[in-house]
């Protein structure tokens, strides 16, 4: 194992998969010669050339549609978005086309492509550069949604996403890019299956089910709750939002009896509501207190530091909510 960054392992996963399978190619804005706005695709252009690392014009609908066409005959495009907010410009191609193609064609055509980029708040980018789109994408059948929190998970899951025969939305987080974590050396082959959660901290009193950057915030909240209040939180990192590993969540709740679902996308009609609903539908007897969800408040995301901090469902809100629940 070595210590490395989230950005580094994504770059490695892309390169390793492009070396392994010549159908894999990258498309996006500034991804080629420049190496990506966040340098995630650096060096790929030099190694693979302009046919496989394609600098596109700012035409998200157009190149997303082109990726569908190429994927329909077995290519494996990876589409980079600088900010996941921009994916909404390509909404028709994602929701009406990419997600539905396999079904509409009765399974005759499948679309193996990856849409990846960073989302999330915390850096004061405001309403159109800070949203989390996980719940939105998870609402639609036909696309898988993955949002890893650590470098180890990010590399293994990106490889699985690229090899998957379905469209996968791979969500990075701007607060995670420069975080460091353990990972096997570059070129050491491993994958992590899509749809499998991972318990990142064991605890006996309450389960927080979350994903992406909120995992790191939940781990900090858990430390504080343990130190100051003697509450031991179990942190279940979902890693994938669709398919959702509800079994691992419920196995944890069987132990703790209390469930809080947390994410940075909006709380209303969000993944947290889905997790809580599934818990009540499948195993209401496990819940010793009402299961709750915590997500972004229903406002557009403001720029000013105190305003943004006010609405983020991070450590402060998690601690407060857990204390309320454990009252």
């Amino acid at each position: 194992m070595r210590k490395t960054t989230y950005i580094q392992v994504i770059n490695e996963a892309l390169g390793e998969e492009m070396r392994r399978d010549e159908n894999v190619f990258v498309m996006g804005e500034d991804v080629g010669r420049y190496g990506g706005l966040f340098r995630v695709t650096r060096n790929l252009f030099d190694e693979f050339g302009p046919k496989r690392v394609i600098d596109t014009p700012i035409s998200e609908q157009g190149f997303f549609g082109m990726a569908l066409g190429a994927a329909s005959v077995g290519m494996r495009p990876i589409l980079e978005l600088m900010y996941m907010d921009f994916s909404l410009v390509a909404a028709d191609q994602i929701f009406n086309q990419i997600a539905k193609y396999h079904y509409m064609t009765g399974g005759l055509v499948n679309i193996p492509l990856v849409i990846r980029g960073q989302q999330g708040a915390g850096k004061r980018y405001g309403s159109q550069h800070s949203q989390s789109v996980d719940s939105l994408y998870a609402h639609f059948p036909g696309i898988k949604v993955v949002a890893p929190a650590t470098p180890y998970d990010a590399k293994g899951l990106l490889k699985s996403a690229i090899r998957d025969d379905n469209p996968v939305v791979f969500l990075e987080h701007k607060m995670l890019y420069f975080t460091r974590g353990e990972a096997p050396p570059a070129d050491e082959e491993y994958t992590i299956p899509i749809g499998k959660a991972d318990v990142k901290r064991e605890g006996s009193d309450l389960t927080i089910a979350t994903f992406s950057y909120c995992v790191l915030q939940a781990l900090e909240a858990a430390e504080e709750l343990s130190e100051k209040h003697g509450i031991e939180v179990e942190v279940v990192d979902l890693r994938s939002v669709e398919p959702l590993d509800i079994d691992t969540v419920l196995a944890s709740v069987a132990k703790t009896g209390h469930l809080l679902a947390v994410h940075e996308s909006y709380a209303n009609s969000g993944i947290g509501a889905e997790i809580v609903a599934q818990a009540y539908e499948i195993a209401p007897h496990l819940l010793k207190s009402p299961a709750r969800r915590l997500g972004m408040a229903p406002v557009s995301i403001p720029v000013s530091k105190p305003l943004e901090e006010e609405i983020l469902p991070w450590k402060g809100q998690m601690v407060a909510t857990v204390l309320e629940m454990m009252g």
Binding site: S59, G62, G65, S72, Q97
Partner: protein, 365 residues
Amino acid sequence: MTKKSSTASADDTPRSQAKLSDIPANGVVSTTTDLLSSQVEIAFDVPALPAETLAEMYRQALLIRQVEEFLLKAAEEGKIGGAMHTAIGHEANAVGAAAALNPDDYLTCTYRGHHHGLAHGMDVGRAIAEVLGRADGFAGGKGGSMHFVAPEHGMMGSNGIVGAQVPHAAGLALASQIRDEGRVAITFFGDGAIFQGVMHETFNMASKWKLPVIFYCENNRYSEMTPTWRTSSVGEFYQFARAYGMESVQIDGNDAEVVHAAVTQAAERARAGEGPTFIEGITYRLAGHMAGDLETYRSAEEIEEQRSHDPVLVLRNRLLERGSSEEEIAKIDAAVEKSVAEAIAFAEASPWPDPAMAYTDVYRT
């Protein structure tokens, strides 16, 4: 003082737009070459096709017509749910293009796409079964009329969202270019589709990257119930391509031989690495936009006038001009009638799908 208003409704005079009757004998109105050239007339060869090719195109066009007439009637009688857009009057665009392309070339098209699927070799019985929502439909009834697909024939899908299939074809062309396969992709869209932003994004990328793709506009002059001149700032649609440095040509889309020639040339250019071509085929839908269209937006005289350019008739007359006999044509007619009747019988006898099939094919497993 009164101010002159310049609202959209004030502009109520039809702008010049090519009609089939304006198209000269060679079937080609004009072609443009590059970004800065003014519109120039270029000699455009329309070679006479061999008798067998003409006869095969006629057979396909007639078959498409008869299938469409059956489907339209069935929809109007309420036997088929959903929207039914037929290609009655558009047949030459499909059969001319299909005959000009290789079997492994790619195609995408619109909800008005039965003619393309059938011209590209889709099984007729399974196609009709699909529209009827039966188990033997090629997609088991999940796609229906607007989502024809036949990957084994390079037919990668028709689409219910106006314009969405156009980048798909460019992506198929990109795959061919990356893999260096020499395959060409053709995409069909309507005159109304030109005004979707995604079209222009795709034109730009395809031209910049010299993708082996053919953009084929089936200009029937109506976007649903609105004549396109009412919403377009540009008179002739093939001119849009000029802004993207693309070759473009306006042709008689009701003459399969002309369509064949234009698509052949475009495919040659594409395979030679010279990039995309925009073809504007002037055509006319002889039926409504879809089953149940009240057609209050056009006159009976207009439709009658267009019947003299009926693409099936054009092909039939061409065969006679080139020496085929009435008996030879009657033989084709009889064979088509028989195969369409058999296909309909097959489709109508096909069972409904098992309801459990509603849950399959969400993900490839």
